[in-house]
């Protein structure tokens, strides 16, 4: 089999050969979307005043609290929502994932009483956003923890099931809480504000 034949044989087996060409209107829209995306530092230097904000739309998310060393506080997502996960010792990080059962939660006005049911609650700063994760460095623990960092993961499958949005940006300070495996949104997890901090203080004071 010479090179051409070999190449031809591979091309016959090209998995993309059945892929229909993209719709030109869709391509044009994609290109436009990309250009209208807020850029980071480089663009700011060119004189546009874009915020380096990553708008992370986090689903009404189930949270998996995982101690990194395998000292786990994992429990069924449908399980009891009030007992905190058993954490045997301080983990290096707590990982907050998103489950398949997110969505459909209704918002209510944040109250200290409702907030008090959170088993993970902290005041922290976003240190990085990369590879599908937001990493926060907690400065104050109200509940759960302690851990050196908290990793929020949001896979694509759940992104459609958006119930609320939290805008994260690197260096920003946030108050974040999670109840029984669910990240609490609807105003419970949000950029730091005095009012919300007061609420956190009352809930866990």
């Amino acid at each position: 089999m010479n090179d051409d034949e070999l190449r031809q044989r591979m091309r016959t087996a090209d998995p993309a050969s059945a892929l229909p060409p993209g719709d030109p209107a869709g391509v044009a829209r994609l290109v436009e979307d990309v250009m209208s995306t807020e850029l980071t530092t480089e663009n700011r230097e060119t004189g546009t005043h874009e915020r380096s904000r990553l708008t992370w739309i986090v689903a009404a998310a189930a949270v998996v609290v995982i101690a990194s060393a395998g000292i786990l506080g994992v429990r069924a997502l449908t399980g009891d929502d009030t007992t905190p996960p058993p954490v045997a010792s301080e983990p290096a990080s707590i990982e907050l994932g998103v489950s398949g059962s997110a969505g459909s939660g209704k918002c209510m006005v944040p109250t200290a009483e409702a907030l008090a049911t959170a088993d993970v609650a902290f005041d922290g700063t976003v240190t990085s956003m990369a590879g599908g994760e937001v990493v926060l460095e907690p400065t104050t623990w109200y509940a759960g923890g302690p851990a050196a960092s908290v990793v929020l993961t949001a896979p694509s499958e759940q992104m459609q099931e958006v119930a609320s949005a939290v805008s994260f940006e690197v260096g920003g300070r946030y108050l974040v809480s999670a109840v029984g495996g669910n990240v609490t949104l609807c105003g419970f997890s949000a950029p730091y504000s005095e009012e919300l901090a007061t609420l956190y203080g009352q809930a866990f004071g």
């Binding site: 087996a13 090209d14 998995p15 391509v27 990309v34 995306t37 994992v74 069924a76 599908g132 993961t153």
Partner: protein
């Protein structure tokens, strides 16, 4: 989701792609309009090949996200984009795809703990030519990828070199060797599965 993924790309998936330091971009990219014009001219031609590149290597959802990330890197680094942008864009896509897969693997580990998420489907390998799929599978990953870039993306060795971040000379030599290895593996596979075309040499 595209927005989310695209933003992440700014932070990391162009890390290994050659080009001037990003600080330079700010100084040279003064005229925003010319950046737009160039991107509008170049990007539509990148979309289709990148779609195909990704469709060959990952599932549909990931492909869509990584396409958006890749284009965003191209837009942000439009001043670094070479005259022949496609191999460079493939290299960006490869980085973005690696990141996406890392994240997916991490997610699967979490999912395994709580049994809440289905694993993602793996990338498609040629299904209608199982001998070829097997033979490719037995090659080293780098060799198989080199052959895919050659046969599926139809790149020349110099372009493959750009995608893989190696010298054109090295790409040429490795491609030659990879083809030889594939031929050898194909012969083995076909002998085992009895698909060999000519058996007249055999006596029994």
């Amino acid at each position: 989701m595209a927005q989310l993924a695209a933003n992440q790309a700014q932070l990391e998936c162009d890390g290994e792609v050659p080009g001037p330091a990003s600080g330079v971009v700010g100084q040279s990219g003064i005229v925003d309009e010319s950046r737009r014009e160039r991107f509008e001219r170049v990007a539509p031609g990148l979309v289709e090949p990148l779609r195909r590149y990704l469709a060959r290597r990952t599932d549909a959802d990931t492909a869509e996200d990584v396409l958006a990330e890749t284009l965003l890197v191209c837009w942000r680094r439009i001043d670094d984009l070479p005259e022949e942008p496609l191999p460079w864009a493939y290299a960006v896509a490869a980085n973005c795809l690696r990141n996406a897969e890392r994240a997916a693997r991490r997610q699967r580990r979490v999912a395994a703990k709580v049994a809440a998420l289905e694993p993602r489907p793996v990338a498609a390998e040629p299904a209608d030519d199982p001998d070829l799929a097997q033979a490719l599978g037995r090659l080293r990953a780098e060799d198989a990828e080199l052959l895919r870039l050659w046969a599926w993306e139809q790149l020349a060795p110099a372009e493959i070199a750009t995608v893989l971040g190696i010298s054109a000379n090295a790409a040429s030599i490795r491609l030659h060797r990879a083809r030889e290895k594939l031929r050898t593996e194909l012969r083995k596979t076909e002998r085992v599965s009895g698909h060999e075309g000519s058996r007249e040499g055999r006596t029994s």
